[in-house]
């Protein structure tokens, strides 16, 4: 997880002037970041793709209003998170996540039994260990509060600095650190619960 190279100020200015090539360059530079944030926040590839495209449409429509080009990345992340929040609410209203909740018991012929999450650490030799870990983390993230998930995604998955997070979320670094620690501890609790 390496920080994306900064987009040159000229490209942003060209995009603001209506240059299509500059816009395409911005998309190519930032599509992975936007898509991954969306994917980790929503846990669905199709929803994440659609959301990421919506984010870039918003950028295309409102980049002319961006006053400080230097804050483009923070602005882009804010747009992405706002879209994620709205989509999360929308999907939750439609009970999109309820159908596949980890806490739901599994219905069997002998009755219902608690859902057991496979912990790959118990069997390190398994071929798809990494993929299993990813699934476990993703499920664990969905169990957290939305703002906690945001902090973990930005810091631990996307590698944001505390300064960047402060710019994006509009919070002081100390607050971000304490909140982030609480989110990590909660995720630990969730993963422990999964393995038992």
């Amino acid at each position: 997880m390496t920080a994306s190279p900064k987009i040159q100020k000229e490209i942003i200015e060209s995009c603001k002037a209506g240059d299509g090539k500059a816009f395409a360059e911005i998309v190519l530079h930032r599509q992975k970041k936007v898509f991954n944030i969306a994917y980790r926040m929503l846990d669905n590839s199709e929803e994440a793709k659609d959301l990421a495209q919506e984010v870039f449409i918003s950028v295309f429509e409102s980049i002319k209003d961006l006053k400080e080009e230097i804050k483009f990345d923070a602005w882009l992340t804010q747009i992405t998170l706002n879209h994620c929040r709205n989509r999360w609410k929308y999907l939750k209203r439609r009970q999109y996540f309820n159908s596949d909740s980890l806490d739901d018991p599994i219905e069997t012929e002998d009755g219902s039994m608690p859902r057991a999450i496979y912990d790959p650490s118990d069997n390190p030799e398994i071929l798809f260990e990494k993929k299993m870990i990813q699934q476990l983390i993703q499920r664990g993230l969905l169990e957290l509060k939305e703002d906690q998930r945001e902090l973990l995604v930005l810091r631990d998955l996307q590698g944001f600095s505390y300064r960047e997070m402060g710019e994006t979320l509009g919070l002081p670094e100390g607050t971000i650190k304490s909140k982030l620690h609480r989110a990590r501890m909660d995720l630990k609790e969730v993963l422990e619960r999964f393995s038992h």
């Binding site: 998309v27 793709k49 990421a52 631990d156 998955l157 990590r184």
Partner: protein
């Protein structure tokens, strides 16, 4: 350092933010507290897993799809822009337009609120005109209806003038009268204009005066005529006497002398006395000698008064002539064969009323 404080610094130790002294104290606590040690091991495990999660590749065709979506939005833009264009106009343009629109709305509201009660009144008026109890009132709509009814009544071949309440009944034609009309219609046609229409009864006249007061140009009876009507209000048994075309009141001081003189005058002008009932006489006279006959009667009488109204109607070319003629048509139906024969010979029926002074 207590357990709570140690657990709060798990993230700081993981990110290597603790000072060497803090790190030393922290590790000493972990070695002495198995609960905190276990907690920290779980925390490290979680963080390792979290950081092992790699990035997901963007699905193929992301950018082309994005362009497609932008194009679709652009297609929908014109409608949105035309709707949103208003918001981009300057206030110097928007405010006057909004003010004018407000004034227009206020005027429209006033117009509508003024119009609505009038519409209601009109409806009320219409209802009143349709009500038979409202005949005493004279709204315009009702008046026109009344006029029509009176015209109809004038055309009806009735022997008695109907009262207002009997208008509808009077409209129904009597079968016997219809037959007479059919039988004599061709013969009567030529003579009908000469025949005088019967005077309306005093009751009916009073009603008509009330109804058409100052509005309709109905035939308004003169004061003299009114007097005659009242005098003739006594019901008459003979149908011939009840339909005299012309009436003359003969005021005399000596009754017997007057009667004999009247008979002489009738004979003198080539006529004949058809009926004589007390002081009422019905005489048939040649139309040509009628005026002379009247003059002689005037001399005879201390005051001879003829019905001016009927005289007017009798005059050819007058306004009331047509109506009078129509009434005469109705009268013709009830006339006897003798009377018709007299008319065929160009004669006029005159009713003479003797009044002793």
């Amino acid at each position: 350092m207590d357990c709570e404080k140690v657990r709060d610094r798990f993230s700081s130790l993981w990110e290597k933010e603790l000072s060497p002294f803090e790190e030393k104290v922290f590790k000493e606590h972990l070695s002495s507290c198995p609960k905190c040690k276990r907690e920290f091991e779980q925390f490290e495990k979680t963080m390792r897993r979290l950081h092992s999660v790699g990035e997901v590749e963007v699905p193929e065709g992301f950018l082309p799809e994005l362009y497609k979506k932008i194009e679709e939005k652009k297609g929908a833009v014109p409608g949105e822009k035309s709707g949103g264009r208003w918001f981009h106009f300057p206030l110097s343009f928007k405010l006057p337009v909004q003010a004018v629109a407000m004034v227009a709305i206020v005027f429209l509201m006033l117009y509508l609120t003024k119009m609505m009660p009038m519409e209601g009144d009109r409806l009320k008026e219409t209802k009143q005109t349709s009500s038979p109890l409202s005949v005493q009132e004279k709204p315009e709509g009702a008046l026109t209806q009344r006029e029509v009814k009176e015209e109809r009544r004038a055309l009806e071949p009735t022997t008695e003038t109907p009262r207002p309440k009997d208008v509808e009944q009077a409209k129904a034609p009597v079968p016997g009268e219809e037959k007479i009309e059919q039988a004599y219609a061709p013969q009567v046609k030529g003579e009908v204009k000469k025949v005088e229409t019967p005077p309306p009864t005093s009751e009916f006249m009073a009603y008509r005066q009330k109804e058409s007061k100052g509005v309709a140009k109905e035939i308004t009876p003169s004061p003299q005529a009114g007097k005659i009507e009242r005098e003739l209000a006594v019901p008459e048994k003979s149908f011939v006497a009840s339909k005299p075309p012309q009436e003359i009141i003969l005021r005399i001081s000596d009754r017997e002398k007057g009667i004999s003189r009247l008979h002489e005058l009738v004979k003198q002008f080539g006529g004949e006395v058809v009926t004589a009932e007390g002081d009422r006489f019905l005489a048939s006279l040649p139309t040509s000698s009628l005026s002379e006959f009247k003059k002689e009667l005037e001399r005879l009488s201390s005051s001879v008064k003829t019905d001016q109204l009927l005289a007017k109607k009798h005059a050819r070319g007058s306004l009331g002539f047509e109506q009078g003629a129509k009434r005469e048509e109705g009268d013709e139906k009830s006339k006897g064969p003798a009377k018709l024969a007299a008319e065929m010979e160009n004669r006029t029926i005159v009713r003479i009323l003797l009044v002793q002074e």
